[in-house]
Amino acid sequence: MARIDLDLAHAYKANPQHDSDYALLPLKMTFEDGGAYALLGPSGCGKTTMLNVMSGLLTPSQGHVLFDGRDMTHATPQERNIAQVFQFPVIYDTMTVAENLAFPLRNRQWPKDKMDQRVGQIAEMLEMSGQLNQRAAGLSADAKQKISLGRGLVRPDVSAVLFDEPLTVIDPHLKWQLRRKLKQIHHELKLTLIYVTHDQVEALTFADQVVVMTRGRAVQVGSPADLFERPSHTFVGNFIGSPGMNFLHAEVDASGLRVGSHVLDAAAALPLGAIKLGIRPEYVALTDAQTPGALPMLVSQVQDVGTHNIVTASHHGQTVKARLSTDSASVKTGSTVWLQVMGAHTCFYKNEEIVA
C-alpha cells in the first residue's frame, strides 16, 4: 500500500512541440493510500497512458512518479509491487482456475497452505469456488475476466491495484454485480484501487474520487457529487450526466447578465464580457411567465423516458434540455414555456473554466 504522487508529462513522440504532441500534458496529482479512484474520459484522452505510467509499463518522458515519497519513475511493475487488470481477459491457458489465481503468489514464494487459503478466499469473493479445478481456457469470457480480476486482487500487500476498463467484456447484469463486489473488496481489503473507464456510471458508482480527463489533461478531480454539482470545466459538465449540462451563451455588462435579449439578474459578481451559463437538466424548472431568472423557450421535443420527460426547448437558437416530471401536461411540442435557469445550482464559465 502506498501513496502515489505524479508530477509528470508524457509524449510518445520525441521532442513534443505542441499540446497535441502530448499523450499526457504536465500534471500534478496525488492518489491517497487506500482510496478508490476512477480515471474517466473518452477514448484517447490519456487515461490508459496515465495508468501505465503508474504501473511502470511506461516511463514518462518527463517528471517523476513517487510511491510514498520514493522515486519510482524507472522502477518495474514488480519493484513497484503493483497489480493490474487489463481490458481483455489475460489468463494462463494451460493452468486451472486455482493455479491462475495462485500464480502471482507462487512467483513470490508463498508457502502452500497460506497460498491455498488466500486463493480460496478470493475465489469465494468472486463466486468461483466451484470452478477452482477447471481448466481456465475452457471458460466463458466473463469467467476469464473474473480470473484476471482475482489475480489482481490476490496479493494483499500490493501498492495499488490498477484496472484498465476491466468490465468491457462482461455482460451488463454481471457488471453491476462485479462493480459491487469491487466496492466491497475495497472496503474489506483496504487496497488502493484505481479504475480506468469511459463509462461515467461505472466511475461514479465505483470511486470516491473521480479524475475526469480529456485530451491529455486532467480537468477535474473530485467526488461524484462535486462533478455533478460544480463541474469545474465545461467538458466535465457535458461528459457527466445524462443528458449533460446545458450551456447558454451569455453576456455580462453594466445592466447585468444577458441571454439573447433577456436580462437575468445575477447573484454572484461575474466578470464582464462573454460568459457561459451552465445548468443541469435536473435543475431546470418549469415556471410562470416573466419570473425573474427564467427564459421563454420554444419546445421542440418531449421525450418520455418513463420516470420523467426529457424536454428539449430553445431560446433564440440556444437549446436547453430539462428533466421535467411526466405530469407537466402543458409542455407540448411547439408550445412556449418559461424555464427557470438561474438558481443555486447554476454555474458560470469563462474560457471553459468555472468562474462562479
Binding site: 504501473s55 509499463l57 518495474t76 511493475p77 514488480q78 503493483i82 497489480a83 493490474q84 487489463f86 481490458q87 481483455f88 489475460v90 494462463y92 491457458d93 494451460t94 493452468m95 500464480f103 502471482p104 512467483n107 513470490r108 481448466r135 481456457a137 475452457g138 484476471s148 489475480r151
Partner: protein
C-alpha cells in the same frame, strides 16, 4: 431454421460437378489405378494376372521393407526432435520489429526457396572432403568424415541437410504465433512476477500451440515422404543406410518393375501417413486446451 418448404431442385448437383471432376482426375483415379495394380501381377504391359491380396501379404513380411520403415520412423522422429526445439528457439530470438526483423525474416527463409534436388547437390559438394567446406573442415579437425562410405556419417548428413533446409519453416510458423500474442499477456506476466522461463512455459508456448501443430504435421509428413535430397546426396547408400520408404518404393516400382508389390506397398504407406497424422493431430489437440484455438494458423 425456416419452416417454409423449399421446392426440390436436384440441378444443384451440377454445381459440384467441376470439383468432382478435378478431384477425380487429381486424386481418386490415380489412387484407383494403384489399387488396381496392387491386386494384379503385371507380367508385361499386355499380360496381367489377378492375385487378390497376395502382394499385401508378401509385402508385410518383407524384411527389407521392415528395415526401411524402421529407418524412416527413426529419421522422421529425429527430424521432429531437432527441428521443433531449434525452430522455437530461433523464433524466440528473432527481433520483433524494425528493419532487423525484415532482414532476419528474409535470411531465415532463404533455404526454403531452394529446390530439393539443388539442396541435395549443395550438400553433396558441401560434404566432400576435397573441395567441400564442411567435409574438408571436419577432415582438417582430424575426423575421418566420409558420408559416402560411413553409414552413420551418411545418416547424420541427411539429417543435418533436412534441419538446414526445413528448420526455418518451423521458425517462421513459430514467429507468426509469437507475434499474435497481445502485449497485455507479457505485461500481466511481468506484473505477476513471472520469470522469463515462466513466460515461455505459460504464455508463449501455449499460444504457439496452434501453429506448432501445423509445423509438426507438415514436418512429419514431408520428412516421412523424403525422396529427392537423400537420392541426390547418397543415393540411399552406403548399403541401404539412407534408403527411406519412398526410395525403397521407387526402386521396387521403377527399378525392378514390380508394379504389384509396389502398388500394394504404396497403399500401406499412404495409410501409415494418414494414421500418424490422425494420431499426432488428436494428441496435440489434447495436450493443448479447447480445439477451437487450434485453427488460427
Amino acid at each position: 431454421m425456416s419452416t417454409t418448404t423449399k421446392p426440390v431442385n436436384q440441378k444443384a448437383w451440377f454445381l459440384i460437378l467441376p470439383v468432382l471432376l478435378c478431384v477425380a482426375f487429381s486424386a481418386i483415379l490415380p489412387l484407383m489405378v494403384v489399387v488396381n495394380y496392387s491386386v494384379q501381377d503385371i507380367i508385361s504391359t499386355d499380360r496381367r494376372v489377378f492375385v487378390g491380396t497376395e502382394w499385401f501379404a508378401a509385402i508385410m513380411r518383407d524384411e527389407e521393407l521392415h528395415g526401411a520403415l524402421l529407418r524412416q520412423l527413426i529419421y522422421s522422429f529425429s527430424v521432429l526432435a531437432v527441428e521443433l526445439p531449434l525452430g522455437i528457439l530461433l523464433a524466440l530470438s528473432m527481433p520483433a520489429t524494425g528493419w532487423k526483423s525484415s532482414a532476419v525474416l528474409v535470411i531465415v527463409s532463404l533455404s526454403l526457396l531452394i529446390p530439393w534436388n539443388v539442396v541435395g547437390t549443395i550438400w553433396q559438394i558441401f560434404g566432400r572432403t576435397d573441395i567441400g567446406l564442411m567435409g574438408a573442415a571436419l577432415q582438417g579437425m582430424g575426423i575421418a568424415y566420409n558420408y559416402t562410405g560411413n553409414a552413420n556419417h551418411a545418416w547424420f548428413t541427411v539429417l543435418l541437410m533436412d534441419v538446414w533446409h526445413w528448420t526455418p519453416l518451423v521458425a517462421l510458423l513459430g514467429y507468426a504465433g509469437l507475434r499474435s500474442i497481445p502485449d497485455a499477456y507479457y505485461q500481466a506476466a511481468s506484473i505477476d512476477g513471472a520469470s522469463k522461463f515462466d513466460v515461455f512455459r505459460f504464455v508463449q508456448l501455449p499460444k504457439m500451440r496452434g501453429v506448432l501443430v501445423i509445423a509438426v504435421l507438415l514436418r512429419f509428413m514431408d520428412s516421412f515422404m523424403i525422396y529427392t535430397e537423400p537420392f541426390v546426396l547418397t543415393g540411399g547408400g552406403p548399403g541401404n543406410s539412407t534408403t527411406f520408404l519412398s526410395q525403397f518404393l521407387t526402386q521396387k516400382a521403377v527399378g525392378q518393375f514390380d508394379l504389384g508389390p509396389a502398388a500394394a506397398f504404396s497403399l500401406i504407406y499412404f495409410l501409415i501417413i494418414l494414421l500418424f497424422c490422425f494420431v499426432l493431430y488428436n494428441w496435440m489437440q489434447q495436450v493443448g486446451t479447447e480445439p477451437k484455438e487450434g485453427g488460427h494458423a
